[in-house]
């Protein structure tokens, strides 16, 4: 039924064989560990898709409830800001991919550089969003019960407040993920410049770049939904 | 097997499709019994027949494709049959006949308000003529409720902000109970209305006069019945304790302080105004949440309530 292949370590640190210091003890090879970590990240990204998916669904249903108000409210968003942000995030995805490539090819300095560039792009994204939000608040375009814009075509309708509630919730949740991504990328960049990543171990860079692509992808859906529909 | 049906379901079959639904229920019941015994009898048999014996060798039976297909397909076909049967039954009351008497139902915490085509309104008391198709159009003024008449086998949620509806045709004259079937807070289980299925003559008479039961009670007794049935007890106690509204005990003839600082004496005029325009005078320490009973209380009911309050010294 079972045969002995190897005696497992009784003393965890008195290994006979060499293995990478990053390898955790329940894995038999680094490759197994890397593949497993990747699966874990993909599963986590699936949960993110479902979370945002709920908000997208809610938005869609509210749009069919308040079609006129939503169309009117769309116009109040700045298309150029949204478009610029889209380009910025696409560039940041490219720099993230490059960071992974640099890590895998043992170019630590360039890896760190690309990571910092990604952080920079994310920073630009957040600045543009901050500008948009400030401008919206000046016009009274607040979410929920704080909505105080005047000059709507259907005054008294809840549709406008609902639109901006969803706008701020979805871009806010997305922005939170951008901030978290910035933090993680910065941490990675510091580690990269210390030479912690190589072709033997670049898992964190790979995983966080994957996370970053999802953050970008969510924006790719947000942008047309909020900015382009007429 | 009528005794079994009466055990498992409401005894009364008060509407046209109650009989269909009961029949469907009993059919599923017997189908389930057969399936259940079909599982449990073998289980008990195997447990006894194949109980542990030292040295017994068990066969290595990993699968039997034919059997597995059979016991997947046969239940599937039974399910398909039940599905169609269920849809047919559902359509009977999801889509009503053209000619129906429309009654507006408004639910609020924690009472029922019914409005008839001619404007007559009633609280917690629904009268319908027998053998006529009734179309209920329902909404709520606050939270989710549900109008459920067990004897009629009908139930529908009532959603604030929109109208929900269903149709039914009552077939037996008599008194039935309706209950709220969607949790709505403290008074959820007190939110009952009586459903009276009347002969056409009795129905017409009720619409005119609100019935004649009031003549069989003293005014104080009749008032107490209104207190219990019209929703007053949800907010007013008669034992001296404070609830959502002031107690009725000992208030008759005494002064009461209002929230604008003035004082009034509790007399018949004050009580009538409180029922019809509750916001006009609000007692100090209470909120202005009492709904109006304008159009919801008949004259004899108002007089009864006044007499009852007077008697609570």
């Amino acid at each position: 039924m079972s045969t002995t292949t190897e005696v497992l370590h009784q003393d965890p640190h008195g290994h006979g064989g060499e293995h990478d210091p990053h390898q955790q003890h329940h894995f038999t090879t680094m490759e197994q560990q890397f593949d497993t970590s990747k699966i874990g990240m993909w599963l986590f990204l699936a949960t993110e898709v479902l979370t945002f998916g709920g908000l997208f669904a809610g938005f869609g249903l509210m749009q069919s409830k308040y079609p006129m108000e939503f169309i009117e409210a769309h116009e109040k968003l700045k298309r150029w800001a949204g478009a610029t942000n889209t380009v910025v995030l696409l560039v940041s995805s490219f720099t993230a991919v490059m960071a992974v490539l640099m890590a895998r090819t043992n170019q630590a300095k360039k890896c760190a550089m690309y990571l910092w560039l990604t952080v920079g792009c994310a920073g630009i994204f957040m600045c543009i969003k901050a500008y948009e939000y400030t401008h919206d608040f000046e016009e009274g375009l607040y979410p929920a019960k704080y909505y105080s814009h005047v000059g709507d075509l259907i005054p008294g309708s809840h549709g406008y407040a609902t639109f901006f509630s969803f706008y701020f919730m979805m871009t806010g949740l997305h922005g939170l993920h951008v901030l978290i991504g910035m933090g993680l990328m910065s941490w990675l960049a510091i580690r990269a410049s210390r030479g912690e990543f190589s072709d033997k171990y670049y898992t964190p860079v790979d995983l966080i770049a994957l996370f970053w692509h999802l953050v970008d992808l969510i924006w790719i859906y947000l942008f047309p939904l909020y900015y382009l529909i007429t | 097997m009528e005794w079994l049906r009466r055990l498992l379901l409401p005894i009364d079959q008060g509407s046209e499709f109650a009989k269909h639904i009961d029949f469907m229920y009993m059919a599923i019941f017997w189908l389930s019994v057969v399936m259940f015994l079909g599982l449990m009898i073998p289980m008990c048999w195997f447990a006894w027949r194949y109980r542990f014996k030292a040295g017994r060798v068990t066969p290595h039976q990993t699968h039997n494709t034919t059997m597995e297909i059979v016991w997947t397909v046969v239940p599937l076909l039974l399910c398909v049959g039940l599905f169609f049967w269920g849809i047919i039954g559902y359509m009977e009351f999801a889509v009503g006949p053209g000619e129906s008497m429309e009654i507006q139902v408004t639910a609020k915490q924690w009472l029922w308000q019914f409005e008839f085509p001619d404007g007559t309104r009633a609280v917690n008391e629904l009268h319908v003529p027998v053998n006529k198709s009734i179309h209920l159009v329902m909404t709520s003024e606050d939270v989710l409720h549900d109008f459920y008449i067990p004897d009629m086998r009908v139930k529908r949620d009532i959603v604030p902000g929109r109208y929900t509806e269903y149709w039914f045709t009552p077939t037996t004259v008599g008194e039935h109970v309706s209950t709220c079937a969607e949790y709505c807070g403290k008074g959820h289980s007190d939110m009952k209305a009586k459903v009276f299925v009347d002969t056409p003559e009795a129905f017409a008479k009720w619409m005119e006069t609100g019935g004649d039961e009031w003549m069989r009670h003293t005014p104080e007794e009749w008032g107490k019945i209104q207190y219990e049935q019209k929703g007053c007890q949800s907010c007013h106690n008669v034992d001296g304790t404070k609830s959502k509204g002031p107690t009725w005990k000992g208030i008759w003839g005494h002064p009461v302080k209002l929230n604008n600082g003035t004082t009034v004496v509790v007399d018949e005029a004050y009580l009538r105004e409180s029922m019809m325009q509750p916001g006009a005078k609000v007692v100090e320490g209470f909120e202005n949440i009492m709904p109006t009973f304008q159009g919801l209380l008949r004259e004899n009911e108002i007089r009864g309530l006044v007499a009852y309050i007077k008697s609570l010294q």
């Binding site: 003890h25 919730m169 | 599982l39 194949y50």
Partner: protein
């Protein structure tokens, strides 16, 4: 290869190791900072059993409130409607979110699944520990909400009542939010473990069926729980900021909340039952000493249940204001989801045919499961039949149905699994005599409590009702007496299990003669699970060449 097995009385083939996962390191810090899946499983076990006790106390209070329509004990009224509404809400919320969703995966599966695969731990041990701490945080928040005002919305939090009522709705929903992440990380961990950490030679169809069940559960945990998370966040935001999504007074749609809520909560009930079914798939072949019948069918049915569970949520809204077309579609799909469960029942039964069956406590629980889950599943058919659902929904019939599947199904399976793996986890045998007595009490008490509720519900007794018509009093009283029998059985179980830790005989490696890999370790296992790396060489549940000489 001949191998004569004894089970029960003699220590295993090798000497019992002195150090095992329980005593290798000591002190509370070694437990609180552990990443050993076995220790985390034990901590979770204590945690969920405590939650079960709390939820059970509320259940007893609910039943006690309904003993008579006057709500009196010894002549004095002791409970009000407001108190009652809090009792049933807290009973539901604690049982669903603190107990039944995490119970089997996070305690039993955490312990056993890696060992079944021949692995040393789960894929992400630190995330496993984090998942436990998230549970603890959620539990503290949930208990906190009870203290600062409690919740009276029902565990389903329907709007607009939940967006406007007083009480600690915000804190409770955020507790559930945190608990949701605990659940997600558990599922995530198991999926990765099953994919990558199987022993050499073990293919997908060589895994124990318990693993298939937990895997399918993990899929649901990953995909469904985030929707609950965002729904509760929206509920909280609606309550505080009035967005206008669920509250009709400000332009929202209460039925939308129900759709969002049940989109998670229906798959959630499969998170509850699949692990239970997974346990039964282990117990029955072991105690029948015969290979499982229909391995592939059971494996496929687990996965198909996971997938189908996502497309039937509308059956909770048949009278709620859903369109007729949606009602018809969901009715059809609900019938479809019944089939895989039926297939499993037939397979388990056929496993017993020509077996060699002994009736220790785990097997008694497994047979109880077959009985109770059959009733629970069959009564579900009443609800998928659209016309009949109208009369029965929101009555005690549905309360009885879901208790039969959740308690008669999952809790019974949990108890079976607990007894089955107790020797492995603790190194002790529990008292079989007390086990049988307690199982009988639980079985009888359960049927008394909930079987009677089918009758009440069919007669028209609505649920969540504090006051009721006098005609229902005899059945309510009977149900309450049943709850006392049930409670005493469960209480007795806790006592003899805990007592076994001190006074139970030492357990052999494989007391039941099981064929899955966890039985090849010592009882309790060493820290790294196996002293020798197992290699998988035979079909799962292979009882050929095993002749049992005595029980």
């Amino acid at each position: 290869m001949e191998h004569t097995l004894t089970s029960g009385s003699v220590l295993g083939d090798r000497p019992r190791p002195v150090k095992n996962y329980l005593n290798e390191t000591t002190g509370i810090k070694s437990w609180l900072t552990t990443v050993d899946h076995k220790r985390i499983g034990i901590m979770y076990l204590c945690a969920v059993c405590t939650a079960f006790l709390l939820g059970g106390i509320f259940a007893l209070l609910v039943r006690l409130s309904l003993l008579n329509p006057q709500h009196t004990l010894f002549g004095k009224q002791w409970v009000t409607a407001e108190m009652y509404n809090r009792f049933f809400t807290l009973h539901g919320a604690i049982m669903v979110f603190l107990f039944i969703i995490p119970a089997i995966p996070a305690s039993l599966a955490n312990f056993v699944l890696p060992m079944m695969l021949g692995a040393k731990d789960v894929a992400f041990p630190r995330i496993n520990l984090m998942s436990f701490y998230l549970w603890c945080i959620g539990a503290v928040m949930a208990i906190g909400s009870m203290v600062i005002g409690a919740v009276d919305t029902g565990w389903t939090f329907y709007t607009p009542y939940s967006t406007t009522t007083d009480g600690a709705v915000g804190l409770m929903t955020m507790a559930v939010f945190i608990l949701g992440f605990s659940s997600i990380f558990t599922g995530l961990n198991f999926i990765a473990t099953v994919h990558k950490l199987r022993a050499p030679g073990m293919g997908w169809f060589d895994m124990p069926l318990f693993v298939w069940g937990i895997y399918a559960t993990g899929v649901i945990q990953i995909l469904a729980t985030p929707v609950l998370a965002i729904t509760l966040v929206l509920l909280l935001i609606e309550r505080v900021f009035q967005i206008g999504i669920f509250d009709s007074r400000i332009g929202g749609d209460p039925v939308l909340f129900q759709h969002f809520f049940w989109f998670y909560s229906h798959p959630a009930v499969y998170i509850m039952i699949l692990p239970g079914m997974a346990i039964i798939s282990e117990i029955i072949p072991t105690f029948s000493r015969k290979t499982i019948f229909g391995y592939r069918a059971i494996a496929y049915s687990s996965v198909s249940l996971a997938l189908l569970s996502f497309i039937v949520w509308g059956h909770h809204l048949f009278v709620a204001g859903e369109s007729d077309l949606a009602n018809v579609v969901f009715s059809a799909l609900t019938f479809l989801v019944a089939i895989p469960s039926g297939v499993k029942m037939f397979n388990w039964l056929t496993t017993m045919y020509k077996g060699n069956i002994s009736f220790e406590t785990p097997m008694l629980y497994a047979m109880s499961f077959l009985f109770l889950f059959a009733i629970g599943g069959l009564t579900g058919i009443f609800f998928s039949t659209l016309a009949v659902d109208i009369h029965l929904t929101d009555t005690y019939f549905v309360v009885a149905h879901f208790h039969y599947v959740m308690m008669g199904g999952t809790v019974i399976a949990f108890l079976g699994g607990l007894h089955y793996w107790w020797p492995k986890m603790t190194g002790r045998m529990y008292s079989e005599k007390w086990g049988r007595i307690a199982t009988a009490l639980v079985f009888i008490g359960f049927n008394m409590t909930f079987g009677s509720q089918f009758i009440m519900g069919g007669q028209g007794m609505p649920r969540r009702y504090f006051n009721y018509l006098d005609q229902f009093q005899p059945i309510h009283a009977f149900s309450t007496y049943g709850s006392w029998v049930l409670g005493s059985g469960l209480f007795m179980t806790a006592i003899y299990l805990l007592a076994s830790l001190k006074t139970g005989p030492l357990a052999p490696d494989n007391p039941w003669g099981g064929t899955t890999m966890e039985w090849e370790s010592s009882s309790p296992p060493v820290v790294h699970n196996f002293e020798e790396q197992p290699v998988f060489e035979h079909e799962p549940y292979d009882y050929r060449h095993r002749t049992v000489t005595h029980v």
